[in-house]
Point group: C2
Chain length 205, copies 2
């Protein structure tokens, strides 16, 4: 490749040794994580298995990612930069319902990255941090849903977006993740429903 002596601008925003072996290893390992997760679900995600599949030595994975949670966290970070945008259906209830449907789909997908990360977050500090960052980002992006509703006059101005959004989505997480209830679209709709009702009453100002 180009080995020009002068004017050697760093190719990307990555420091250290950008295009080198490290990057290749990281790519191979994260690819292995994704593949194994899709093929065999969370249970297949042992550090050994991932290293094996990536053609990399165990110790390398242990040193760079520490545990399965670290692997998932890194994989999530890479995936979080998608240009996801919240739904815009024209009503608060419609937006929240659509949002809850997305949440339900993510949680009940066959090998669910979300579910895997939640499980991992109880065993790995890295995974817990990544999950929290992911959710913070999502709630941030969703704030516009609440602002639009306020602008339309559906709910009082000054309603706290995060609290409203948590109120709308939490029952779904509670049923699907903690109580392991079977998935039912009524859950998504009803949760959106009473969050909307409470918001109209000014419960989030």
């Amino acid at each position: 490749m180009d080995s020009s002596p002068a004017a050697n601008p760093p190719p990307a925003e990555m420091r250290r040794r950008p295009g080198g072996r490290s990057a290749q290893v990281r790519g191979a390992v994260l690819a292995a994580v994704r593949t194994l997760l899709v093929e065999h679900g969370y249970d297949a995600l042992a550090v050994d298995t991932v290293a094996d599949r990536a053609g990399v030595h165990r110790t390398t994975v242990y040193r760079r990612w520490r545990d399965v949670g670290g692997l998932l966290a890194d994989a999530l970070d890479e995936a979080a930069d998608d240009g996801w945008r919240p739904p815009d259906t024209g009503t608060l209830h419609g937006d929240l319902h659509a949002l809850n449907r997305e949440v339900a789909d993510a949680l009940t997908a066959d090998p669910s990255l979300s579910a895997a990360l939640i499980a991992a977050s109880f065993r790995s500090e890295q995974a817990a941090r990544a999950l929290r960052a992911f959710w913070d980002d999502r709630y941030e992006r969703c704030a516009v849903v609440v602002h639009r509703a306020a602008a339309r006059g559906e709910i009082p101005a000054g309603s706290d977006p995060r609290r409203l959004l948590v109120a709308a989505t939490a029952p779904l997480y509670h049923e699907l993740v903690l109580l392991r209830s079977p998935h039912d679209d009524r859950l998504a709709r009803q949760a959106a429903g009473y969050a909307t009702a409470a918001a109209r009453e000014g419960a989030f100002v």
Copy 2:
């Protein structure tokens, strides 16, 4: 049903060999579980550690409880028969707030049995089942809170107790368990608040 020739009344409700060695072993093991959980938290709850503390052989624990989740599940079953009753403050909001305070206390206790069980439920089917049964029981007992509110005319008759209770408690679980937010009594109060508001609007009928 009973086809025993002579009247042979079973001494207690436990079958098999009630007062014998099995019962002693079970008692010792569950006591060890409680002790270790209080002293060192969930992390100290390895099968080996429990067996050691109980003065019982490892294999015995593995055969009877299978894993840590099984131990926690059994410990929870024993503890679930306390005569717990929901608060009765005179208003729906007061009851829900008091309830949420109890939930928050249970979740933020230093070594929290609840938190340990939630974590274990992701790794053990037994623990997941026990936790679900525990919650079902609690929601059942709490239904009276909703019925009283309806009787007082605070909320429409026919409001679904379970859905209302989930709506009131889920945001708390979401913040404390999933998002790991720092504990703040406002969480408990606000969640009780908008569940009450939505209930008044008839969102749970």
